[in-house]
Amino acid sequence: MALVSFDLDTEEGLSMIRRFLALALITTASAFAQQVTLTGAGSTFANPLYSSWSGHYHALHPNVEVNYQSIGSGGGIRQLIAGTVDFGATDGPMTNAQLAEAQQKRGTAILHFPTALGAAMPSYNIPGVTATLKFTPAALAGIYLGKITKWNDPEIQRPNPGVKLPSSNIVVIHRSDGSGTTYTWADYLSKVSPEWKNKIGVGTSVNWPVGLGGKGNEGVAGLIRRIPNSIGYIELIYAVQNHILYGEVKNSSGNFIEADLKSVTAAAAGATKTMPADFRVSITNAPGADAYPISTYTWLLVPEKLSDMTKAKALKEFLRWGLTDGQQYCAPLTYAPLPAAVVQKELQQMKKLQY
């Protein structure tokens, strides 16, 4: 600046200032025009992933800021329907009634895009037992229905011949807060047990026939640790990061599978053939020899139409990036990445977005 000297007395000097100001104005204006903030809300389970995406995406596209609030899936769906956020995120797909409500209130369809995978696994604390236990679907359903009450019940003992199980009473532990993990667990039990399906059903909170409630994964894990002869279910990420002992579960092919990133992705791959066009699919008890049966997608919820075109374009690009390049950030955070076939289907689905 100091090098540029203006001669204010001359016509030339004045016009230079004018030109300089005009240029500055144009630069700032265009910078403001490109600056986009996308707001999203929902799933607490997927929060670490979306936060990581937001950071990495902002580094690549400094003009796009993604602001994600983990207020819970139910809250995310409500906010999306009310139109206070640009996108939502949920661990359980929206119901037909909710989709209809969104259509009516916002005048647009809502599309589901799976972004990553999670799983729930049985964790236990039996004094004197350090082995990895194998659980059959009947055993898990029986325990959570309160029908199987002793650890040495034949249904638990049979697949674990080498383990000496005590005759103690089983203490059942579940989540007390509404959660996608509970949704997945209940969804799995409904698929393998008609009695569970009829009596209890599927939801983020259910009417538990037995058991104590712990708040969050840490609450459930804490109760398991403190109460002998207890069993509870824990989210994959939490279990892996905290080195918690968990059991194998028998899948639809009859194999006992330990939950890990590979077996969870395998479940998604197994369910791809039967995937409905709107991606609202449960992948619990999915087919596949290596598929872990208590797996689930987590979804981004994106409106088919948006009025603000700048925002809409940015959202579309963010979504495309998340489904492709963004997938590399899943595994480090212990989310199972999407199978390639699912990503292809989703990129096709993106053509439905009217922007």
Binding site: N207, L212, K215
Partner: protein, 329 residues
């Protein structure tokens, strides 16, 4: 009366000023009207906030109120999947834990307050009071963690003995999992004790010396002075501290949900797990889908509001009857 007024020179002067009706403008200039308006606005804001709160709770619980009516209060089923909601286990848990917590906290709190105000050396009293006021500022999640990591392991060692000798009493029987009404009540008691101590101590200290001297002149012992002159004089303030504690216990969420077990059932045994209104709202509100479910949770908030009001009313009634006794005695 008029003699007394004339005896003090300032009073007639002021009353003369009041007799000559001041205009609104004069009062405004002197500042009285300003203060009046500001305090009036403060008072009204409380009414408005409470009114809005009740209105909101009432309107947004309509679906649930229409669907279940009064059954909502007495039914014990809480089934979000099938849309059946009953509040009884939560109401029961809230009332039981709060009352038990106060039963534990009042003797400890009042005892400490009397010690700090009347018996302890002033230096010790000030130091301890500072610590107690720090306790009142500890976030409730910390108390929950204390419950989990310190209290429950201790209870796991103590409760079996209690059950061995007193297990025949219904409130002590059943399997003990660590998390229970009892654990929640103890954590609540620990949380509210600082309120009782801190407020009661202030009130006890501010009792006029003349009260003590009058009692001592009658030849009373130090304890007699404290118990029969100072404490009754400070009773209103002490009751105030207990009301405040009760309100905190009824509404406490985080610490309770960490140690109560979160099971929607009604048990006679204090060793059994249970649930409270505030805890279930905090647990389920974020993931609640469906309007009826949301309205049922908001109706729980309304119920909590009413429970708190009933408790306050009962406590005030209790105080009135106590005053009555005093007059008779």
């Amino acid at each position: 009366m008029s003699n007394a007024v004339l005896a003090t020179p300032e009073v007639p002067f002021e009353s003369r000023g009041l007799d000559k009706k001041q205009t609104w403008w004069e009062r405004l200039r002197k500042g009285d009207e300003v203060v009046h308006l500001i305090t009036l606005a403060g008072g009204w804001s409380i009414l408005v906030i409470t009114g809005l709160l009740v209105q909101h709770l009432w309107v947004y619980s309509r679906l649930s109120r229409h669907a279940f009516g009064w059954h909502f209060l007495v039914d014990s089923t809480w089934d979000p999947v099938n849309g059946v909601f009953g509040a009884w286990p939560f109401v029961y848990g809230t009332v039981v834990t709060s009352l038990l917590a106060l039963t534990i906290a009042i003797p400890i709190g009042l005892g400490s307050a009397i010690f700090l105000a009347e018996l302890a050396p002033r230096k010790l009293s000030n130091a301890l009071t500072f610590l107690i006021e720090l306790l009142a500022a500890v976030p409730s999640v910390i108390y929950g963690l204390i419950g989990i990591f310190l209290l429950i392991p201790v209870l796991f060692n103590v409760v079996p003995y209690v059950q061995k000798y007193f297990g025949w009493i219904p409130i002590f029987n059943g399997t003990f999992y660590g998390v229970s009404y009892f654990s929640a009540s103890i954590v609540l008691a620990i949380m509210v004790v600082p309120f009782i101590i801190s407020i009661s101590r202030e009130v006890l200290i501010s009792v006029p010396v003349s009260q003590r001297e009058a009692m001592m002149a009658l030849g009373a012992t130090k304890w007699d002075v404290t118990w029969r002159a100072v404490v009754p004089y400070a009773r209103q303030g002490i009751m105030g501290s207990i009301f405040l504690s009760l309100a905190r216990a009824l509404g406490e969420t985080m610490a309770v949900t960490m140690v109560i077990g979160n099971v929607a059932q009604v048990s006679t045994s204090l060793m059994a797990p249970g649930y409270t209104i505030a805890a279930v709202i905090a647990n389920e509100f974020t993931e609640a889908t469906g309007d009826l479910y949301l309205h049922a949770l908001i109706e729980l908030g309304l119920v909590l509001f009413v429970v708190t009001m009933i408790f306050n009313a009962l406590a005030r009634l209790l105080m009135l009857t106590m005053k009555g006794h005093e007059v008779v005695g």
